[in-house]
């Protein structure tokens, strides 16, 4: 209930007497909130840009828009990775109009200014028309994004020069990224074939959906049916969700499907059963029994605040969220695979991953339907006279926070962790309303080493 004397309705209302946690639906709809997120989150924290293996060779480049800003993500001739604003320092023209390729030089078509792939000016035609041409030239190098750091091949950027280190930001999420890299002795690589699609829903609905094991059975009823028919016993029992701090979250799933090369299930076929046994033995030799167990035997859905989702499930997908408007988000998804994978295993991996994830899969379209149906449905309470109706409920499993035990994957604790961090990140802490005694926040990481 909102008190009559509240001037502004709370953005998040936690009631520890009634065990309810409610999020104001303006968070998904409001242009003002969206603008505030752009300024307070997207221009201040670390953002996932891309994977080093997308630009594997010197001179490789990709163009990509992050936080609404067109960027060039490239490897220079000496092999160093850069992120430049894709905008000519002269008049602001988009410098590189190709989506990807290999180039030592980027030339602006407008006035033929040319730049090396390390950002230096290569030539400005008729430079002697500028008074102090050397100084001028130095001022006109490509604008690098202020910060760029890498963890396990995942390249992050920040538009904020004073942001703390990437490792500090990643915190407990970092090791789950390392665990993906440890799955195969030769490491992992992104593959060609990127799923690029738009959804008519707020970006935070995509985050909630990924941190929400509660929706799996009803939303993916047809996919669960397919797995059961192929001989896999799907279960939600004894699986947990973890708030990793800094807005990052983790679902640990052990009953939703097999894992290519690590947990066999009948639909993978007999050849894969043999490959799995061999690989699983190699993993124990390389990583030790305990670490190999955590790397191999659990599926992880990891959210790295604010724009990266890693689906370490049947196979591996990297999903990047790019908010376009309050009700619109671009999604980009790369498949990640072992570098040294035999063709039959790779073909099985691709078929299996794509059968679930992406806008043409047998499951993701129902998730997209869910975000889009929420985005349309929450218009029903917008600007309502009874403002207390204009909230979405994420109370499930709050009792576990009182007991200080990890919440189940089919509860809503990972979402609550996200929303609490979000409220601080957008600097709306004054719009948190807590009723009753809130238990001290605790991190729910585990020792998985």
């Amino acid at each position: 209930m909102v008190d009559a004397d509240d001037v502004v309705a709370p953005m998040i209302a936690e009631d520890w007497d009634r065990l309810t946690f409610r999020v104001n639906r303006d968070a998904y709809r409001s242009e003002a909130v969206f603008a505030r997120e752009r300024e307070q989150i997207w221009l201040r924290t670390w953002l996932y840009l891309g994977h080093e293996t997308e630009i594997a060779n010197p001179n490789d480049f990709k163009v990509r828009t992050i936080a609404g800003r067109p960027l060039i993500f490239c490897r220079d001739t000496a092999g160093e990775v850069h992120a430049f604003l894709n905008s000519c320092p002269h008049r602001g023209t988009v410098l590189c109009r190709e989506a990807e390729g290999s180039a030592k030089l980027f030339q602006c078509f407008y006035h033929a200014w040319t730049f090396r792939n390390n950002g230096d000016v290569a030539s400005i035609p008729d430079a002697d028309a500028y008074g102090s041409s050397d100084e001028f030239r130095d001022l006109m190098s490509l604008r690098a994004v202020p910060r760029l750091e890498t963890h396990e091949g995942y390249v992050f950027v920040s538009f904020n020069p004073d942001v703390p280190s990437l490792r500090e930001h990643l915190g407990d999420a970092a090791d789950y990224m390392t665990m993906i890299e440890q799955q195969h002795a030769g490491g992992m690589t992104t593959l060609p074939g990127v799923q690029l699609y738009g959804v008519r829903g707020n970006w935070k609905l995509a985050v909630e959906n990924a941190m929400d094991g509660y929706h799996f059975s009803p939303t993916h009823n047809t996919f669960v049916g397919y797995l059961r028919e192929s001989g896999f016993a799907v279960t939600d029992d004894d699986q947990y969700a973890y708030n990793l701090g800094n807005g990052h979250g983790l679902l640990v799933l052990t009953g939703h499907g097999g894992r290519i090369s690590m947990i066999w299930e009948p639909r993978f076929g007999d050849e894969e059963r043999v490959r799995t046994e061999v690989h699983r033995t190699e993993m124990v030799d390389r990583l030790g029994e305990r670490r190999a167990h955590y790397v191999a035997d659990e599926s992880h859905i990891l959210f790295v605040f604010p724009n990266l989702l890693l689906f370490d499930i049947e196979g591996l997908s990297i999903r990047q969220l790019e908010p376009i408007a309050p009700g619109q988000t671009d999604v980009r998804a790369w498949q990640l695979a072992p570098r040294d994978e035999e063709p039959a295993a790779r073909a099985l991996r691709m078929k299996t991953v794509v059968s679930f994830v992406g806008p043409g899969g047998l499951a993701t379209p129902d998730d997209i339907e869910a975000y889009e149906a929420v985005q349309r449905g929450i218009q029903a309470t917008a600007g309502a006279v009874r403002t207390e109706l204009d909230y979405s409920d994420m109370s499930r499993g709050m009792i576990d926070e009182v007991k200080r035990v990890p919440g189940r994957s089919i509860d809503e604790g990972a979402m609550r962790g996200f929303w609490r961090h979000w409220l601080d990140a957008v600097d709306l802490g004054d719009r948190l309303r807590v009723t009753g005694d809130r238990p001290a926040e605790f991190l729910e990481g585990r020792d998985v080493r």
């Binding site: 690029l196 699609y197 959804v199 009823n221 047809t222 049916g225 059968s355 129902d366 339907e369």
Partner: protein, 174 residues
């Protein structure tokens, strides 16, 4: 498949297949899909067939077996997809998208002793949830030829888009 010349008929295993026969097959497929008659659609495939939609960044030479895709269905997955689409629990298609398909620029190419390749342009209009999307691209099918007609061996839809626009998912058959 850009060669000049006539692509109005090919000889497959001694039988001449004319463009009109292939056009009739593709028009019939468009009809059953627009009518959500998925059993009739499945009957247009031979057992063991495949259904593929590459991603929009697709480049010639990429294999769905080695790279990401939108759809990479083997025969088991085609059957699973049809079963799903017939279910009321395929939420993304319940209620189903209304589609309206145009097929054009049909050309035939030789392939092997019992099949031919066909390329054709498509425009699929889709209406759902107050939205109206257009999907434009071309087919690169392989059709098995027998005395009793044509069947899909490979059904491949290649999008002409740079990306899928907002709301433009592939929950229906493209």
């Amino acid at each position: 498949m850009t060669a000049l010349g006539s692509h109005s008929a090919v000889v497959v295993g001694g039988r001449t297949v004319a463009r009109t026969e292939v056009e009739d097959f593709l028009y019939a497929e468009a009809d059953v899909l627009d009518a959500w008659d998925y059993d009739a659609w499945l009957a247009l495939f031979e057992a063991g067939a495949r259904y593929e939609i590459p991603t929009t960044d697709h480049q010639a030479g990429w294999s769905p077996h080695a790279s990401g895709s939108f759809v990479d269905d083997d025969w088991d997955l085609i059957k699973a997809r049809v079963k799903r689409l017939k279910s009321r629990k395929a939420h993304a298609e319940n209620p189903p998208s209304r589609t309206h398909r145009l097929v054009s620029n049909v050309r035939l190419f030789e392939n092997d002793a019992d099949s031919l390749r066909v390329s054709a342009a498509f425009v699929v209009h889709r209406a759902r949830d107050g939205q109206f999307d257009a999907y434009v691209g071309h087919y690169q099918h392989v059709l098995a030829v027998s005395d009793d007609g044509l069947r899909f061996r490979l059904r491949r839809s290649v999008l002409g888009h740079e990306s899928l626009g907002p709301g433009a998912r592939l929950s229906f058959i493209l």
